[in-house]
């Protein structure tokens, strides 16, 4: 069993929202953004932290990185208390927010790295070696001298990743690292993370909407909804239980009554478009398509993978009683 590098015990964080209710009147509502969360992450893990928008993922990450102060509970990251030992912690962690620019907008990439080196006080030798390696792995050389504002999103994200890794962090926090990336860029980022995890023993905690990220990267997945952890376990078990069904979306030439095909059932009809759910283990997409085509002429079709938000909603709907996640379980994972 490896030592845990992230520990949360009964962590809570409320937000008070003020909404204008016309004129100068304001309504107050208290939101339990994080509501009694407890978990641990062992060194060297890649943890996928998922949940719908507003579920509390970002709030958790912000408390772990020292950005927000928890209301109650205990947090330890790399042996430090984030909000009190923010500066020491900052040297030990790397943070990347996919939607925010941490590099200097109007400076060439390499100059941003130079500044980061001094901000983090990275020894010259270490910096040189790290930069050399990251340049190779993330293929930065073609745009190393380009101002950040001129980079494509994919190039910028590679730059941001480099920026987050120059100081040899023990833990990397990634918030939506692949959002908006094309397939190639996304693949490159994932490969990089797997490699850094394997070779450096880097612990990674990533929040994402992309089930693909989770599937390729993490062994363990944590689902949060309404501020509570509703699933903690490995990805296969999750898929086995909740992601068995895929959806075939067909556009028929003519509107038709719900089709009756083997291995599939129609879940929704909208004009000539029908949604047919099927289980990946029992029916192949090809067979199902053939069966549909035999019933009615097809204009177009698409396959929808189970959406992570649907999965989360379904898990939540099933109630907290079946939740497998707990502090004991995660420490032995």
């Amino acid at each position: 069993m490896r030592a845990s590098v992230i520990e949360l015990e009964h962590v809570r964080k409320d937000f008070t929202l003020h909404r204008s209710a016309g004129g100068l009147r304001r309504e107050r509502t208290v939101v339990h953004a994080v509501d009694d969360i407890t978990f641990k992450v062992e060194q060297g893990a890649i943890l996928g932290y998922i949940g719908p928008n507003g579920a509390g993922k970002s709030t958790t990450v912000k408390m772990l990185t020292g950005i927000l102060v928890p209301m109650s509970g205990r947090i330890r990251v790399a042996g430090l208390e984030p909000s009190r030992q923010r500066i020491q912690l900052a040297r030990k962690i790397g943070v990347m927010f996919g939607q925010r620019v941490q590099l200097w907008w109007d400076l060439p990439l390499i100059e941003s790295f130079e500044l980061l080196r001094h901000i983090y006080r990275v020894p010259a030798e270490r910096y040189k070696a790290n930069l050399q390696e990251l340049r190779e792995v993330l293929e930065l050389d073609p745009f190393l001298r380009t101002p950040v504002r001129q980079l494509s999103l994919g190039q910028r994200i590679r730059g941001e990743l480099t920026g987050a890794m120059l100081h040899d962090p023990e833990i990397l926090f990634l918030d939506e690292p692949t959002i908006g990336l094309d397939v190639v860029a996304r693949q490159r980022v994932r490969e990089f993370l797997v490699r850094a995890n394997r070779e450096r023993g880097l612990t990674v905690l990533l929040t994402t909407h992309d089930l693909g990220d989770i599937e390729r990267l993490s062994s363990r997945i944590l689902i949060i909804d309404h501020g509570r952890i509703v699933y903690d376990g490995d990805i296969d078990a999750l898929k086995e239980r909740y992601g068995k069904e895929r959806i075939l979306v067909v556009d028929l030439v003519e509107p038709a009554p719900p089709l009756r095909v083997d291995g599939g059932r129609v879940v929704k009809v909208e004009g000539p478009r029908q949604w047919i759910a099927f289980e990946r283990a029992r029916t192949s997409a090809a067979d199902l398509t053939a069966a549909v085509a035999a019933h009615a002429p097809l204009r177009d079709l698409a396959i929808e993978e189970p959406d992570i938000e649907d999965v989360v909603r379904r898990i939540y709907a099933e109630g907290a009683k079946r939740v497998t996640g707990s502090a004991e379980r995660s420490s032995t994972a």
Partner: protein, 270 residues
């Protein structure tokens, strides 16, 4: 000490990087400098117009008021050069980019104050300098080394006082999106107030804007000493020497308010 040197070295690096970035757009930069130079003359034109109607303002001549103006505006222009980007700080709170400051291994205030360095503010600096030179050429000063020292010191303490005021009031941004406007009332309001002899203001206003928000110590008390004038408000001569202490006090207040405010940061997006 090593900490301070390291911080200073990092600051120089950041400033150099800012300068390089800004000089990429040279023509726009020149236009900005000229523009601010012209605009900053506006309030001095008002002073000149005032003095075509009256020989004195309170017990102050036009050149003496120009000295107040020169000192306070030069101090403020230098402040603006160094931390003028605080104007945009409320925006970083609103959109949550302040998060990025909090994950750096440096004090937050250091990161925020050093985030930019706008050389186009040189326009304002040169305007204030022109007025200060005009004032010094036209007032009769019995120059002594103490007086020269007080003048130089006034600029340094003036900058420190303005930075302290700006940092203190910009903390409002942690609670309301209108932080910039309110902060402006104190910063721009403060420098406007300091351009005139404070004995013209009513007592309640003087007490608040001169002593609580200590802009009276930017130009007024140093100028009294340089000019060898007696304080019409009756404060003894030593008041002219306490500016550095006032500045330090204001800086300490600013630092504690900042720390307290950062702990109340709630980050955009929840």
């Amino acid at each position: 000490m090593a900490e301070i040197l390291d911080g200073a070295a990092l600051y120089l690096r950041l400033v150099r990087a800012r300068l390089r970035a800004q000089l990429q757009y040279r023509s726009s930069f020149v236009l900005d400098v000229i523009g601010t130079f012209v605009i900053s003359f506006l309030d001095f034109v008002v002073i000149l117009i005032i003095f075509t109607n009256v020989p004195q303002l309170g017990s102050w001549s036009v050149a003496e008021v120009a000295l107040l103006y020169g000192i306070s505006c030069l101090a403020f222009a230098l402040t603006d050069l160094v931390i003028g980007h605080l104007d945009l700080f409320p925006q970083t709170i609103r959109d949550g980019t302040f998060d990025l400051v909090l994950v750096r291994p440096r004090p937050t205030l250091f990161m925020v104050l050093t985030a930019d360095f706008q050389i186009r503010r040189l326009g304002r600096i040169s305007q204030a300098a022109v007025v200060l030179v005009y004032a010094l050429a036209n007032v009769s000063i019995d120059w002594t080394s103490e007086r020269a020292l007080v003048l130089a010191g006034a600029l340094v303490t003036g900058v420190l006082i303005f930075i302290a005021i700006w940092v203190t009031v910009i903390c409002i941004a942690f609670w309301t999106v209108e932080g910039r406007e309110v902060a402006n009332a104190f910063t721009y309001g403060g420098v406007t107030l300091a351009q005139y002899p404070i004995d013209i203001y009513d007592r309640w206003m003087r007490s608040f804007f001169a002593y609580v928000v200590p802009v009276a110590f930017v130009a007024y008390y140093p100028a009294l000493f340089i000019l060898g004038k007696r304080d019409p408000l009756g404060l003894p001569t030593w008041a002219s020497f306490i500016s550095p202490f006032v500045a330090l006090g204001a800086a300490l207040v600013a630092l504690s308010v900042w720390r307290w405010a950062v702990r109340h940061y709630r980050s955009a997006g929840g």
